[in-house]
């Protein structure tokens, strides 16, 4: 059972354009939604994260939009650059108090290519 569904699988955008990657989750207990960025030959790295008490979070050119009622969240990359070309993973987790684990459930990833 895939708990976090990510789309599209791949995305090609022209330099300066907007990249949009979508994720949908099933478990309503999820309350932490990070996005990870992975360059070829490297491990993923946290890009930006949101909690469901806000509908949007922006960091530079990267924005997460969150729709709790639809159980969906998306990553928007404004003014996309060739250096943004990477694989992007959405994920979800349940926050807890001390002693709890913080296992992430990942989407399957989106390969973003930004053409010059």
């Amino acid at each position: 059972q895939q708990q976090v569904k990510q789309s599209p699988q791949s995305l090609i955008v022209q330099k300066g354009g907007i990249s949009i990657i979508n994720c949908a989750y099933e478990n309503t207990a999820f309350d932490y939604f990070p996005w990870y960025q992975q360059f070829p030959g490297k491990g993923p790295a946290l890009l930006i994260a949101i909690r469901p008490d806000v509908s949007e979070k922006k960091e530079g050119r990267f924005t997460i939009s969150f729709n709790k009622s639809a159980k969906q969240f998306s990553l928007h990359i404004m003014d996309s650059q060739p250096g943004d070309s990477a694989t992007y993973f959405c994920a979800a987790s349940i926050e807890g108090s001390g002693g709890s684990n913080y296992k992430l459930t990942f989407g399957k990833g989106t390969l973003l290519t930004v053409n010059p």
């Binding site: 030959g41 491990g43 926050e95 807890g96 001390g98 684990n101």
Partner: protein, 115 residues
């Protein structure tokens, strides 16, 4: 400060052979994880540890064992390698948060091929 270091970076095994992947972190993190990454499958959790001496199963634990004898090290073992275990393996760690998720810090992966 090296972060998360995985050893080896590449390895080719024959079916039935055994091996151990090593993950070392120098950030004094309590939590450590082993994932496998396969094309089109994302990252799937194999095993994880919430502290020295403790381990737990993740989503795809079959065929793997782990140990966390020292806080800084998390070992992933394959007792009898199978071609289905051909994958890229990532280790990650993060510190204990006070009720809040902390970013997971990933190593650069071990590329394992089983012939």
């Amino acid at each position: 400060n090296a972060g998360v270091t995985q050893t080896p970076k590449f390895r080719v095994l024959k079916t039935g052979q055994s091996m151990t992947l090593l993950c070392a972190q120098d950030m004094n993190h309590e939590y450590m994880y082993w994932y496998r990454q396969d094309p089109g499958m994302g990252l799937r959790l194999i095993h994880y540890s919430v502290g020295e001496g403790t381990t737990a199963k993740g989503e795809v634990p079959d065929g793997y064992n782990v140990s966390r004898l020292k806080k800084q090290n998390f070992l992933l073992g394959l007792e009898s390698a199978a071609p289905s275990q051909t994958s890229v393996y990532f280790c990650a760690s993060h510190k204990l948060g006070q009720g809040a998720n902390q970013p997971q810090h990933f190593g650069d992966g071990t590329r394992l091929s089983i012939l």
